[in-house]
């Protein structure tokens, strides 16, 4: 097996980029869903808006830190190469991070904005100009959500395209990887919001949780039905792909793929969320909200999203043509 070239920093970055994309997507969706001119789930939208920029910012920092010459990262933004997924991805990340930050600002209350600007030291050069930026962007929320949708999907799918575009690594070289990463990103984002709403004190809005659970169950199922064809198509493919898949079918990544990703990170949280959702499915009442179980399921979804990226980054690099 060849030595991996991309290691944990890349796994972390792929996960964090996807997490932000997922959080923003759900938040934007909740901003876009309106009745009588008001968001249906404003608390999810706001929580998502406040959380979305940070994982991607941290991930981008890790990505830059992983470069051999990190101080040359600006070269990514003076050259655009449409053939290189990394080139496209760098621009997507830049624009997406910008949108998430403006969106966060739009969701701040006046008091929060004032408190933020009050922290700017008096001697800061151009302070007056910075203070002039303290404007209410509340009316932009829906427009920012609409603008951010394609970029969130772009960031979510690009991490998979980055890997899938490498024809030399048969474990990755299928468009299913991009779709799997996208749905996983959206699912981890949803789970992060379930977790965030659970942590917050005060009465729980069952409609909010019903929405988040519906979304997450759909996303986990979509993910599952991409994993299945990925394995089936791979097994029916050429020798190099079959050999690559053997890394998770009896090879060194078998337990991590089946036990940690598929079992603990996908099917177990799905089972928990379906159980919580059962009264709604049966039409016999509203969903259970068992704090411990809900947080466990959300935590497992996030864990599964991380393990998925771990398996793909490392197993993919171990695969090749003979």
């Amino acid at each position: 097996m060849r030595e991996p070239v991309w290691e944990f920093l890349i796994v972390n970055y792929l996960f964090l980029g996807g997490l932000s994309a997922g959080i923003f997507f759900v938040s934007a969706f909740c901003t876009w869903l309106q009745t009588d001119g008001k968001p249906v789930y404003p608390r999810i939208a706001r929580t998502g808006a406040l959380l979305a920029p940070w994982p991607v910012a941290l991930g981008s920092f890790l990505l830059i830190f992983d470069l051999g010459k990190w101080w040359r990262f600006w070269k990514l933004f003076v050259i655009f190469r449409w053939e290189s997924p990394m080139s496209i991805g760098s621009w997507l990340l830049l624009v997406f991070t910008g949108i998430t930050l403006v969106n966060l600002f739009a969701w701040l209350t006046e008091d929060e904005r004032n408190a933020l600007f009050a922290r700017i030291p008096a001697r800061t050069p151009g302070r007056a100009r910075i203070l002039a930026l303290n404007r209410d962007l509340g009316s932009w929320k829906r427009r920012l959500a609409m603008l951010g949708f394609p970029f969130a999907i772009g960031v979510g799918i690009y991490t998979g395209v980055l890997l899938g575009a490498v024809q030399a690594r048969p474990f990755w070289n299928t468009n299913l990887v991009a779709q799997l990463f996208l749905f996983s990103a959206l699912s981890t984002g949803t789970a992060a919001l379930i977790l965030a709403r659970m942590v917050e004190k005060g009465p729980r809005d069952l409609a909010e949780f019903r929405f988040l659970y519906t979304l997450d169950i759909c996303l986990i199922l979509l993910e599952f039905f991409i994993v299945l064809p990925y394995l089936i198509h791979g097994q029916l493919s050429v020798l190099a792909v079959r050999e690559a898949l053997s890394l998770v079918l009896g090879g060194p990544f078998t337990f991590i793929f089946w036990g940690l990703f598929l079992g603990a990170g996908l099917l177990l949280p799905l089972a928990i969320e379906l159980w919580e959702f059962k009264p709604v499915l049966m039409g016999s009442g509203t969903l259970h909200i068992t704090r411990g179980l809900a947080m466990t399921a959300a935590g497992l979804v996030i864990f599964g999203g991380y393990v998925l990226r771990y398996v793909f980054v490392f197993a993919g690099q171990a695969s090749g043509f003979r």
């Binding site: 470069l67 010459k69 190469r81 290189s84 690099q317 043509f321």
Partner: protein, 182 residues
């Protein structure tokens, strides 16, 4: 306008005695740091005593016609010259290592001294002076023949015309330009 050259290499592996003179010559010529190499000898042993078999296949960057390393490079640091030689422009490389992952031949490595990706250049600096790559010049058993594919008078051309050959991993579609005589 004259046709552009297309440099390639023919390798007669059966002549290789695994002396590694090419590896040493390359390191000395290109100042390759300790622990990493621009070229290598893939050794394969088989059979059972006393009927043993050993084969040695020298390998380095294949200077592909359609190089995936060049395609994925986000800054254009990996590029292909008009004469087909694939190079890394050190000043533009950010060290993301995407090209290393994209190379089906694992021909690239990370140079810890320069902090960028490094690989065989077919000794382009020598070729531009009309000389042969260091590995070709050094090889004592004449395994390597370097030349211009578009020149019908070249020794390389004659070998490919008269002998059967193969390229490694043609299914990746990269169009490798290291030709192994059968």
């Amino acid at each position: 306008m004259a046709n552009p050259k297309r440099y390639a290499m023919v390798l007669d592996s059966r002549k290789c005695i695994d002396c590694k003179a090419c590896v040493v010559a390359c390191k000395a010529e290109n100042d390759v740091p300790p622990g990493v190499f621009r070229n290598r000898i893939n050794a394969e042993h088989g059979g059972a005593f006393p009927r043993l078999r050993a084969s040695f296949d020298p390998e380095q960057c294949h200077h592909c016609d359609n190089p995936s390393c060049v395609r994925v490079c986000p800054t254009g640091a990996s590029f292909q010259r008009e004469d087909g030689i694939v190079q890394v422009r050190e000043a533009d490389c950010i060290g993301c290592k995407y090209c290393m992952i994209a190379c089906p031949y694992d021909a690239r490595f990370f140079n810890e001294e320069t902090r960028v990706v490094d690989k065989c250049t077919f000794c382009a600096h020598r070729v531009d002076r009309g000389e042969l790559p260091a590995c070709v010049e050094t090889c004592p058993s004449k395994v390597r023949t370097f030349g211009d594919l578009t020149d019908p008078r070249s020794a390389l051309h004659a070998l490919l015309e008269s002998r059967r050959y193969r390229v490694l991993k043609p299914q990746t579609g990269n169009g490798p330009q290291l030709y192994y005589l059968l």
